[in-house]
Amino acid sequence: MRELSTKQKILRFMANNTVPLLFVVIIAFGVPLSGYSPTYLAGEVISRISRNTFLIVSLLIPILAGMGLNFGMTLGAMAGQIGLIFTTDWGIVGIPGILLAMIVSTPLSILLGWWCGKILNMAKGREMVTSYIIGFFMNGIYQLVVLYGMGPLIKIISPNLLLPRGYGIRNTVNLIGIRKSLDNFLMIRIGGVPIPVGTFLVIALLSVFILWFKKTKLGQDMRAVGQDMEVARAAGIRVEYTRIMSIIISTVLAGYGMIIYLHNIGTLNTYNSHMQIGMFSVAALLVGGATVASAKIRNVFLGVVLFHLMFIVSPMAGKRLIGQAQLGEYFRVFVSYGVITTSLVLYEVRKKRERGMSGLALAQDQEVTS
Protein backbone atom coordinates (compact mmCIF):
# COMPACT_ATOMS: atom_id res chain seq x y z
CA MET A 1 0.00 0.00 0.00
CA ARG A 2 1.39 3.38 -0.99
CA GLU A 3 2.38 5.88 1.68
CA LEU A 4 0.09 8.94 2.03
CA SER A 5 1.57 12.42 1.63
CA THR A 6 1.27 14.95 4.47
CA LYS A 7 -1.41 16.85 2.53
CA GLN A 8 -3.42 13.68 2.03
CA LYS A 9 -3.06 12.82 5.74
CA ILE A 10 -4.37 16.26 6.71
CA LEU A 11 -7.26 15.96 4.26
CA ARG A 12 -8.12 12.51 5.56
CA PHE A 13 -7.97 13.77 9.16
CA MET A 14 -10.28 16.64 8.25
CA ALA A 15 -12.67 14.31 6.43
CA ASN A 16 -12.78 11.95 9.41
CA ASN A 17 -13.30 14.76 11.93
CA THR A 18 -15.53 17.18 10.04
CA VAL A 19 -18.08 17.68 12.81
CA PRO A 20 -15.63 18.28 15.71
CA LEU A 21 -13.59 20.65 13.51
CA LEU A 22 -16.74 22.54 12.56
CA PHE A 23 -17.51 22.99 16.23
CA VAL A 24 -13.98 24.12 17.01
CA VAL A 25 -14.42 26.84 14.37
CA ILE A 26 -17.86 27.87 15.77
CA ILE A 27 -16.45 28.04 19.30
CA ALA A 28 -13.34 29.91 18.15
CA PHE A 29 -15.65 32.65 16.90
CA GLY A 30 -18.25 32.34 19.65
CA VAL A 31 -16.04 32.50 22.76
CA PRO A 32 -14.49 35.94 22.10
CA LEU A 33 -17.87 37.26 20.93
CA SER A 34 -19.61 36.12 24.12
CA GLY A 35 -17.17 37.99 26.35
CA TYR A 36 -17.29 35.33 29.07
CA SER A 37 -14.24 34.97 31.29
CA PRO A 38 -12.17 31.75 31.07
CA THR A 39 -12.98 30.98 34.74
CA TYR A 40 -16.71 31.23 34.10
CA LEU A 41 -16.48 29.07 30.99
CA ALA A 42 -14.33 26.47 32.79
CA GLY A 43 -16.81 26.31 35.68
CA GLU A 44 -19.77 25.92 33.33
CA VAL A 45 -18.08 23.27 31.20
CA ILE A 46 -17.02 21.25 34.25
CA SER A 47 -20.53 21.45 35.67
CA ARG A 48 -21.96 20.20 32.37
CA ILE A 49 -19.40 17.43 32.05
CA SER A 50 -20.44 16.12 35.47
CA ARG A 51 -24.13 16.53 34.56
CA ASN A 52 -24.25 14.94 31.11
CA THR A 53 -21.35 12.52 30.64
CA PHE A 54 -23.02 9.53 32.29
CA LEU A 55 -26.03 9.88 29.97
CA ILE A 56 -23.86 10.04 26.87
CA VAL A 57 -21.69 7.07 27.90
CA SER A 58 -24.89 4.98 27.99
CA LEU A 59 -25.00 5.27 24.18
CA LEU A 60 -21.69 3.47 23.63
CA ILE A 61 -22.77 -0.16 24.17
CA PRO A 62 -25.50 -0.30 21.45
CA ILE A 63 -23.04 1.28 18.98
CA LEU A 64 -20.60 -1.52 19.83
CA ALA A 65 -23.35 -4.04 19.05
CA GLY A 66 -24.02 -2.39 15.68
CA MET A 67 -27.40 -1.01 16.68
CA GLY A 68 -26.48 2.60 16.04
CA LEU A 69 -27.45 5.52 18.24
CA ASN A 70 -29.95 4.41 20.85
CA PHE A 71 -32.62 7.09 20.83
CA GLY A 72 -34.52 4.67 23.06
CA MET A 73 -32.39 5.83 25.98
CA THR A 74 -35.43 8.01 26.72
CA LEU A 75 -36.99 4.86 28.19
CA GLY A 76 -34.19 4.67 30.77
CA ALA A 77 -34.60 8.37 31.46
CA MET A 78 -38.28 7.81 32.24
CA ALA A 79 -37.41 4.93 34.57
CA GLY A 80 -34.88 7.18 36.32
CA GLN A 81 -37.52 9.87 36.75
CA ILE A 82 -39.98 7.39 38.24
CA GLY A 83 -37.24 6.34 40.68
CA LEU A 84 -36.76 9.97 41.65
CA ILE A 85 -40.52 10.56 42.10
CA PHE A 86 -40.68 7.63 44.53
CA THR A 87 -37.61 8.57 46.56
CA THR A 88 -38.84 12.17 46.79
CA ASP A 89 -42.22 10.90 47.95
CA TRP A 90 -40.58 8.69 50.58
CA GLY A 91 -38.42 11.60 51.76
CA ILE A 92 -35.07 9.91 51.13
CA VAL A 93 -32.38 12.56 50.76
CA GLY A 94 -28.70 12.88 49.95
CA ILE A 95 -26.59 10.16 48.36
CA PRO A 96 -28.86 7.40 49.79
CA GLY A 97 -31.72 9.06 47.88
CA ILE A 98 -29.75 8.95 44.63
CA LEU A 99 -28.74 5.32 45.15
CA LEU A 100 -32.27 4.30 46.06
CA ALA A 101 -33.67 6.05 42.98
CA MET A 102 -31.15 4.09 40.90
CA ILE A 103 -32.21 0.81 42.53
CA VAL A 104 -35.90 1.60 41.93
CA SER A 105 -35.23 2.53 38.31
CA THR A 106 -33.19 -0.62 37.56
CA PRO A 107 -36.01 -3.22 37.21
CA LEU A 108 -38.06 -0.72 35.19
CA SER A 109 -35.10 -0.02 32.90
CA ILE A 110 -34.40 -3.73 32.48
CA LEU A 111 -38.02 -4.41 31.55
CA LEU A 112 -38.21 -1.46 29.15
CA GLY A 113 -34.78 -2.27 27.67
CA TRP A 114 -35.76 -5.89 27.10
CA TRP A 115 -38.98 -4.84 25.41
CA CYS A 116 -37.21 -2.23 23.28
CA GLY A 117 -34.51 -4.78 22.33
CA LYS A 118 -37.15 -7.30 21.29
CA ILE A 119 -38.75 -4.72 18.98
CA LEU A 120 -35.40 -3.62 17.58
CA ASN A 121 -34.63 -7.24 16.74
CA MET A 122 -37.74 -7.21 14.58
CA ALA A 123 -36.55 -4.04 12.87
CA LYS A 124 -32.95 -4.91 12.02
CA GLY A 125 -31.28 -2.23 9.94
CA ARG A 126 -33.75 0.43 11.07
CA GLU A 127 -32.87 0.48 14.75
CA MET A 128 -32.36 4.23 15.13
CA VAL A 129 -35.67 5.40 13.73
CA THR A 130 -37.47 2.53 15.48
CA SER A 131 -35.94 3.38 18.86
CA TYR A 132 -36.81 7.04 18.29
CA ILE A 133 -40.47 6.18 17.73
CA ILE A 134 -40.47 3.73 20.68
CA GLY A 135 -39.40 6.69 22.81
CA PHE A 136 -42.46 8.67 21.71
CA PHE A 137 -44.75 5.68 22.24
CA MET A 138 -43.38 5.03 25.71
CA ASN A 139 -43.74 8.71 26.54
CA GLY A 140 -47.50 8.27 26.15
CA ILE A 141 -47.51 5.31 28.53
CA TYR A 142 -45.34 7.27 30.98
CA GLN A 143 -47.76 10.20 30.90
CA LEU A 144 -50.69 7.87 31.45
CA VAL A 145 -49.04 6.26 34.47
CA VAL A 146 -47.69 9.45 36.03
CA LEU A 147 -50.69 11.65 35.25
CA TYR A 148 -53.50 9.21 36.07
CA GLY A 149 -52.00 6.16 37.77
CA MET A 150 -50.00 7.87 40.50
CA GLY A 151 -52.33 8.63 43.35
CA PRO A 152 -55.26 6.26 42.87
CA LEU A 153 -53.36 3.14 41.72
CA ILE A 154 -49.77 3.78 42.76
CA LYS A 155 -49.75 5.21 46.25
CA ILE A 156 -48.14 8.62 46.66
CA ILE A 157 -47.81 9.64 50.32
CA SER A 158 -46.82 13.27 49.97
CA PRO A 159 -49.66 15.62 48.95
CA ASN A 160 -47.04 18.13 47.80
CA LEU A 161 -46.24 15.89 44.85
CA LEU A 162 -49.82 15.48 43.69
CA LEU A 163 -51.78 17.84 41.48
CA PRO A 164 -54.52 19.82 43.31
CA ARG A 165 -57.18 17.41 41.98
CA GLY A 166 -55.62 14.65 44.12
CA TYR A 167 -54.04 12.40 41.52
CA GLY A 168 -51.20 12.73 39.03
CA ILE A 169 -47.79 14.22 39.70
CA ARG A 170 -47.26 17.99 39.51
CA ASN A 171 -45.46 19.62 36.58
CA THR A 172 -42.32 20.08 38.64
CA VAL A 173 -40.92 18.01 41.46
CA ASN A 174 -38.48 19.75 43.75
CA LEU A 175 -35.38 17.61 44.23
CA ILE A 176 -33.92 19.86 46.93
CA GLY A 177 -33.24 16.83 49.15
CA ILE A 178 -30.76 15.30 46.73
CA ARG A 179 -29.71 18.41 44.82
CA LYS A 180 -25.97 18.35 44.13
CA SER A 181 -25.40 15.89 46.99
CA LEU A 182 -23.10 13.78 44.82
CA ASP A 183 -21.46 16.87 43.31
CA ASN A 184 -20.79 18.34 46.75
CA PHE A 185 -19.31 15.08 47.97
CA LEU A 186 -15.52 15.61 47.66
CA MET A 187 -15.94 19.03 46.03
CA ILE A 188 -12.67 20.90 45.53
CA ARG A 189 -11.87 24.29 44.04
CA ILE A 190 -9.02 24.94 41.65
CA GLY A 191 -8.46 28.57 40.71
CA GLY A 192 -11.98 29.45 41.80
CA VAL A 193 -13.49 26.69 39.64
CA PRO A 194 -15.49 24.08 41.58
CA ILE A 195 -14.62 20.49 40.66
CA PRO A 196 -17.20 17.84 41.70
CA VAL A 197 -14.71 15.04 42.34
CA GLY A 198 -17.42 12.66 43.62
CA THR A 199 -19.36 12.78 40.33
CA PHE A 200 -16.15 12.57 38.32
CA LEU A 201 -15.18 9.43 40.25
CA VAL A 202 -18.52 7.86 39.32
CA ILE A 203 -17.98 8.81 35.66
CA ALA A 204 -14.42 7.44 35.79
CA LEU A 205 -15.74 4.16 37.23
CA LEU A 206 -18.29 3.94 34.43
CA SER A 207 -15.62 4.63 31.82
CA VAL A 208 -13.42 1.89 33.29
CA PHE A 209 -16.44 -0.43 33.31
CA ILE A 210 -17.09 0.26 29.61
CA LEU A 211 -13.43 -0.41 28.74
CA TRP A 212 -13.47 -3.63 30.81
CA PHE A 213 -16.82 -4.68 29.38
CA LYS A 214 -15.51 -4.49 25.80
CA LYS A 215 -12.94 -7.16 26.73
CA THR A 216 -15.44 -9.56 28.30
CA LYS A 217 -17.07 -12.45 26.42
CA LEU A 218 -20.32 -10.49 26.05
CA GLY A 219 -18.42 -7.39 24.92
CA GLN A 220 -16.53 -9.38 22.28
CA ASP A 221 -19.80 -10.98 21.16
CA MET A 222 -21.31 -7.52 20.77
CA ARG A 223 -18.34 -6.40 18.69
CA ALA A 224 -18.70 -9.49 16.48
CA VAL A 225 -22.46 -8.92 16.10
CA GLY A 226 -21.80 -5.27 15.32
CA GLN A 227 -19.35 -6.15 12.54
CA ASP A 228 -21.43 -8.83 10.84
CA MET A 229 -24.51 -10.47 12.27
CA GLU A 230 -24.46 -13.48 9.96
CA VAL A 231 -20.79 -14.24 10.59
CA ALA A 232 -21.42 -13.90 14.34
CA ARG A 233 -24.39 -16.26 14.11
CA ALA A 234 -22.29 -18.77 12.17
CA ALA A 235 -19.67 -18.54 14.94
CA GLY A 236 -22.30 -19.66 17.48
CA ILE A 237 -23.06 -16.26 19.02
CA ARG A 238 -26.67 -15.73 20.09
CA VAL A 239 -27.17 -12.59 18.02
CA GLU A 240 -30.66 -11.60 19.19
CA TYR A 241 -29.80 -12.15 22.86
CA THR A 242 -26.60 -10.11 22.52
CA ARG A 243 -28.46 -7.23 20.89
CA ILE A 244 -31.15 -7.26 23.58
CA MET A 245 -28.44 -7.25 26.29
CA SER A 246 -26.81 -4.19 24.73
CA ILE A 247 -30.09 -2.28 24.79
CA ILE A 248 -30.82 -3.37 28.38
CA ILE A 249 -27.39 -2.19 29.57
CA SER A 250 -27.82 1.09 27.68
CA THR A 251 -31.29 1.67 29.14
CA VAL A 252 -30.17 0.93 32.71
CA LEU A 253 -27.19 3.28 32.35
CA ALA A 254 -29.43 5.95 30.81
CA GLY A 255 -31.69 5.69 33.88
CA TYR A 256 -28.71 6.22 36.19
CA GLY A 257 -27.47 9.03 33.94
CA MET A 258 -30.83 10.77 34.12
CA ILE A 259 -30.77 10.60 37.92
CA ILE A 260 -27.29 12.16 38.00
CA TYR A 261 -28.40 14.79 35.47
CA LEU A 262 -31.51 15.76 37.44
CA HIS A 263 -29.71 15.67 40.79
CA ASN A 264 -27.38 18.33 39.41
CA ILE A 265 -30.27 20.52 38.18
CA GLY A 266 -32.36 20.06 41.33
CA THR A 267 -35.77 20.10 39.67
CA LEU A 268 -37.60 17.36 37.85
CA ASN A 269 -39.75 18.64 35.02
CA THR A 270 -42.10 15.64 35.25
CA TYR A 271 -43.57 15.63 31.76
CA ASN A 272 -40.72 17.18 29.80
CA SER A 273 -37.28 16.50 31.25
CA HIS A 274 -36.81 13.21 29.40
CA MET A 275 -38.29 14.21 26.06
CA GLN A 276 -35.25 15.60 24.28
CA ILE A 277 -32.56 13.96 26.35
CA GLY A 278 -31.88 11.29 23.70
CA MET A 279 -31.57 13.89 20.98
CA PHE A 280 -29.09 16.07 22.87
CA SER A 281 -27.02 13.15 24.11
CA VAL A 282 -26.74 11.76 20.60
CA ALA A 283 -25.84 15.20 19.25
CA ALA A 284 -23.13 15.64 21.90
CA LEU A 285 -21.64 12.23 21.10
CA LEU A 286 -21.60 12.97 17.37
CA VAL A 287 -19.97 16.35 17.97
CA GLY A 288 -17.19 14.45 19.73
CA GLY A 289 -16.37 12.66 16.47
CA ALA A 290 -18.34 9.45 16.99
CA THR A 291 -20.22 7.85 14.13
CA VAL A 292 -23.20 5.52 13.92
CA ALA A 293 -20.80 2.59 13.82
CA SER A 294 -17.98 3.65 16.11
CA ALA A 295 -17.80 5.57 19.38
CA LYS A 296 -15.17 5.75 22.07
CA ILE A 297 -14.90 7.26 25.54
CA ARG A 298 -12.79 10.12 24.16
CA ASN A 299 -15.62 11.04 21.77
CA VAL A 300 -17.91 11.41 24.78
CA PHE A 301 -15.65 13.84 26.62
CA LEU A 302 -14.68 15.83 23.53
CA GLY A 303 -18.36 15.97 22.54
CA VAL A 304 -19.53 17.21 25.93
CA VAL A 305 -16.90 19.94 26.01
CA LEU A 306 -17.48 21.18 22.43
CA PHE A 307 -21.28 20.85 22.40
CA HIS A 308 -21.71 22.56 25.73
CA LEU A 309 -19.24 25.31 25.03
CA MET A 310 -21.40 26.08 22.02
CA PHE A 311 -24.50 25.90 24.24
CA ILE A 312 -23.00 28.31 26.78
CA VAL A 313 -21.61 30.92 24.43
CA SER A 314 -24.23 31.00 21.67
CA PRO A 315 -26.96 33.07 23.43
CA MET A 316 -24.52 35.76 24.53
CA ALA A 317 -22.66 35.67 21.23
CA GLY A 318 -26.01 36.09 19.45
CA LYS A 319 -26.92 39.00 21.71
CA ARG A 320 -23.63 40.77 21.11
CA LEU A 321 -23.75 40.10 17.39
CA ILE A 322 -27.25 41.31 16.57
CA GLY A 323 -28.58 42.44 19.95
CA GLN A 324 -30.87 39.42 20.49
CA ALA A 325 -30.12 36.46 22.75
CA GLN A 326 -32.98 34.62 21.03
CA LEU A 327 -30.75 34.13 18.00
CA GLY A 328 -28.42 32.02 20.11
CA GLU A 329 -31.36 29.98 21.35
CA TYR A 330 -32.48 29.21 17.80
CA PHE A 331 -28.88 28.50 16.88
CA ARG A 332 -28.63 25.89 19.63
CA VAL A 333 -31.73 24.05 18.43
CA PHE A 334 -30.65 24.32 14.81
CA VAL A 335 -27.16 23.01 15.58
CA SER A 336 -28.43 20.09 17.69
CA TYR A 337 -30.60 18.75 14.88
CA GLY A 338 -28.17 19.84 12.19
CA VAL A 339 -25.21 18.02 13.69
CA ILE A 340 -27.14 14.75 13.79
CA THR A 341 -28.21 15.15 10.18
CA THR A 342 -24.68 16.09 9.07
CA SER A 343 -23.16 13.13 10.91
CA LEU A 344 -25.64 10.67 9.45
CA VAL A 345 -25.11 12.03 5.93
CA LEU A 346 -21.32 12.01 6.31
CA TYR A 347 -21.44 8.46 7.63
CA GLU A 348 -23.45 7.28 4.62
CA VAL A 349 -21.19 9.17 2.18
CA ARG A 350 -18.08 7.65 3.78
CA LYS A 351 -19.61 4.18 3.72
CA LYS A 352 -20.47 4.50 0.03
CA ARG A 353 -17.00 5.83 -0.77
CA GLU A 354 -15.32 2.97 1.10
CA ARG A 355 -17.58 0.46 -0.65
CA GLY A 356 -16.67 2.03 -4.00
CA MET A 357 -12.95 1.98 -3.20
CA SER A 358 -13.04 -1.67 -2.12
CA GLY A 359 -14.93 -2.48 -5.35
CA LEU A 360 -12.23 -0.75 -7.40
CA ALA A 361 -9.50 -2.60 -5.48
CA LEU A 362 -11.25 -5.91 -6.14
CA ALA A 363 -11.57 -5.09 -9.86
CA GLN A 364 -7.85 -4.26 -10.03
CA ASP A 365 -6.97 -7.52 -8.29
CA GLN A 366 -9.11 -9.47 -10.76
CA GLU A 367 -7.44 -7.71 -13.72
CA VAL A 368 -3.98 -8.61 -12.37
CA THR A 369 -4.88 -12.28 -11.83
CA SER A 370 -6.53 -12.63 -15.26
Binding site: N52, W90, G91, I92, V93, G94, I95, P96, G97, L99, L100, I103, V104, T106, Q143, L147, L163, P164, R165, G168, R170, N171, G177, I265, N269, Y271, N272, S273, H274, M275, Q276, I277, F280, F311, R332, V333
Partner: protein, 159 residues
Protein backbone atom coordinates in the same frame (compact mmCIF):
# COMPACT_ATOMS: atom_id res chain seq x y z
CA UNK B 1 -25.66 -28.71 42.30
CA UNK B 2 -25.79 -28.13 38.54
CA UNK B 3 -24.34 -25.07 36.87
CA UNK B 4 -27.86 -23.84 36.08
CA UNK B 5 -28.93 -24.12 39.73
CA UNK B 6 -25.77 -22.33 40.88
CA UNK B 7 -26.40 -19.48 38.42
CA UNK B 8 -29.97 -19.18 39.62
CA UNK B 9 -28.82 -19.16 43.25
CA UNK B 10 -26.26 -16.42 42.58
CA UNK B 11 -28.87 -14.32 40.76
CA UNK B 12 -31.45 -14.68 43.52
CA UNK B 13 -28.74 -13.92 46.11
CA UNK B 14 -27.75 -10.77 44.21
CA UNK B 15 -31.38 -9.58 44.06
CA UNK B 16 -31.82 -10.21 47.80
CA UNK B 17 -28.59 -8.30 48.54
CA UNK B 18 -29.73 -5.32 46.43
CA UNK B 19 -33.10 -5.38 48.18
CA UNK B 20 -31.45 -5.39 51.60
CA UNK B 21 -29.19 -2.54 50.50
CA UNK B 22 -32.29 -0.59 49.38
CA UNK B 23 -33.89 -1.13 52.81
CA UNK B 24 -30.65 0.07 54.45
CA UNK B 25 -30.62 3.19 52.25
CA UNK B 26 -34.25 3.85 53.13
CA UNK B 27 -33.34 3.78 56.83
CA UNK B 28 -30.26 5.96 56.67
CA UNK B 29 -31.63 8.45 54.11
CA UNK B 30 -35.12 9.14 55.48
CA UNK B 31 -35.61 12.81 56.28
CA UNK B 32 -37.70 13.98 59.21
CA UNK B 33 -38.71 17.37 60.57
CA UNK B 34 -38.29 17.95 64.29
CA UNK B 35 -40.49 20.77 65.60
CA UNK B 36 -39.20 22.40 68.75
CA UNK B 37 -42.00 24.00 70.69
CA UNK B 38 -41.68 26.44 73.56
CA UNK B 39 -45.36 26.97 74.35
CA UNK B 40 -47.12 26.40 77.65
CA UNK B 41 -48.50 22.85 77.68
CA UNK B 42 -50.65 20.75 79.96
CA UNK B 43 -49.39 17.30 80.92
CA UNK B 44 -51.39 15.01 83.26
CA UNK B 45 -53.53 17.99 84.25
CA UNK B 46 -50.51 20.13 85.21
CA UNK B 47 -49.74 23.29 83.28
CA UNK B 48 -46.07 23.60 82.32
CA UNK B 49 -44.97 27.16 81.61
CA UNK B 50 -42.94 28.11 78.53
CA UNK B 51 -39.24 28.70 79.25
CA UNK B 52 -37.94 32.28 79.35
CA UNK B 53 -34.84 31.77 77.20
CA UNK B 54 -33.50 28.44 76.08
CA UNK B 55 -30.87 27.19 73.63
CA UNK B 56 -31.65 24.05 71.68
CA UNK B 57 -29.48 22.02 69.36
CA UNK B 58 -30.79 18.99 67.50
CA UNK B 59 -27.93 16.67 66.45
CA UNK B 60 -24.23 17.21 67.13
CA UNK B 61 -23.79 19.45 64.09
CA UNK B 62 -27.21 21.09 64.15
CA UNK B 63 -27.79 24.81 64.38
CA UNK B 64 -28.14 26.21 67.92
CA UNK B 65 -31.61 27.76 68.20
CA UNK B 66 -32.33 30.44 70.79
CA UNK B 67 -35.95 30.30 71.78
CA UNK B 68 -38.20 32.57 73.78
CA UNK B 69 -41.78 31.80 74.97
CA UNK B 70 -44.46 31.03 72.34
CA UNK B 71 -41.85 30.23 69.69
CA UNK B 72 -41.87 27.14 67.55
CA UNK B 73 -38.88 26.35 65.35
CA UNK B 74 -37.81 23.36 63.34
CA UNK B 75 -34.76 21.24 62.57
CA UNK B 76 -34.51 18.92 59.59
CA UNK B 77 -32.74 15.65 60.33
CA UNK B 78 -31.84 12.52 58.42
CA UNK B 79 -32.05 9.07 59.96
CA UNK B 80 -33.92 7.79 63.00
CA UNK B 81 -31.68 8.21 66.05
CA UNK B 82 -30.80 11.74 67.18
CA UNK B 83 -29.77 13.80 70.17
CA UNK B 84 -31.16 17.03 71.49
CA UNK B 85 -29.16 19.38 73.70
CA UNK B 86 -31.10 21.89 75.77
CA UNK B 87 -29.39 24.64 77.78
CA UNK B 88 -31.71 26.59 80.10
CA UNK B 89 -30.84 29.23 82.69
CA UNK B 90 -33.55 29.60 85.33
CA UNK B 91 -34.57 32.67 87.34
CA UNK B 92 -31.87 31.91 89.97
CA UNK B 93 -29.17 31.85 87.24
CA UNK B 94 -28.72 28.10 87.55
CA UNK B 95 -27.83 26.52 84.24
CA UNK B 96 -29.61 23.28 83.37
CA UNK B 97 -28.11 21.23 80.55
CA UNK B 98 -29.85 18.17 79.18
CA UNK B 99 -28.40 16.07 76.38
CA UNK B 100 -30.90 13.41 75.45
CA UNK B 101 -31.29 10.93 72.66
CA UNK B 102 -34.52 10.02 70.94
CA UNK B 103 -35.71 7.90 68.05
CA UNK B 104 -38.09 8.98 65.28
CA UNK B 105 -40.37 6.27 63.84
CA UNK B 106 -39.29 5.43 60.29
CA UNK B 107 -42.48 6.47 58.51
CA UNK B 108 -43.12 9.56 60.67
CA UNK B 109 -42.51 12.80 58.78
CA UNK B 110 -42.72 15.17 61.74
CA UNK B 111 -42.23 14.94 65.49
CA UNK B 112 -42.63 17.65 68.09
CA UNK B 113 -40.42 18.26 71.11
CA UNK B 114 -42.11 20.22 73.87
CA UNK B 115 -39.40 22.12 75.76
CA UNK B 116 -41.39 22.78 78.98
CA UNK B 117 -42.26 19.05 79.13
CA UNK B 118 -38.66 18.11 78.46
CA UNK B 119 -37.42 20.28 81.34
CA UNK B 120 -40.02 18.77 83.65
CA UNK B 121 -39.36 15.11 82.92
CA UNK B 122 -36.30 14.61 80.70
CA UNK B 123 -35.99 10.87 81.41
CA UNK B 124 -39.35 9.96 79.90
CA UNK B 125 -39.05 10.52 76.14
CA UNK B 126 -42.75 9.89 75.51
CA UNK B 127 -43.51 12.78 77.94
CA UNK B 128 -41.85 15.40 75.72
CA UNK B 129 -41.71 13.84 72.25
CA UNK B 130 -44.84 13.27 70.21
CA UNK B 131 -45.68 12.48 66.62
CA UNK B 132 -46.96 15.48 64.71
CA UNK B 133 -49.29 14.99 61.77
CA UNK B 134 -49.42 18.61 60.64
CA UNK B 135 -52.31 20.97 60.48
CA UNK B 136 -54.84 20.94 57.65
CA UNK B 137 -53.76 23.48 55.07
CA UNK B 138 -55.71 26.71 54.97
CA UNK B 139 -58.04 27.43 52.07
CA UNK B 140 -55.97 29.39 49.63
CA UNK B 141 -56.71 31.48 46.57
CA UNK B 142 -54.57 29.13 44.51
CA UNK B 143 -56.42 27.49 41.63
CA UNK B 144 -57.74 24.00 42.29
CA UNK B 145 -56.57 22.91 38.87
CA UNK B 146 -53.05 23.02 37.52
CA UNK B 147 -52.47 22.76 33.80
CA UNK B 148 -50.05 20.00 32.90
CA UNK B 149 -47.41 21.31 30.53
CA UNK B 150 -46.08 19.18 27.71
CA UNK B 151 -43.27 21.01 25.98
CA UNK B 152 -40.83 19.16 23.77
CA UNK B 153 -38.07 21.70 24.26
CA UNK B 154 -38.61 22.29 27.97
CA UNK B 155 -35.46 20.42 28.94
CA UNK B 156 -33.40 22.32 26.42
CA UNK B 157 -32.08 25.11 28.63
CA UNK B 158 -31.00 22.88 31.47
CA UNK B 159 -29.14 20.55 29.12
Amino acid sequence: MTKRQRTLLIRVGAIVLVFLFAVFLFHIGRQHTVLIDNNTVTRDGVELQALKLVEVQVGKKGEVLEMTPRIRDKAVVVGQRHTVKVVYTDASWNEHVHELSFRIPLMQNMVLISLPALMKNPEDVSFWLENFEGLPTAQSDAPQEEDVVFDELAGFDSF
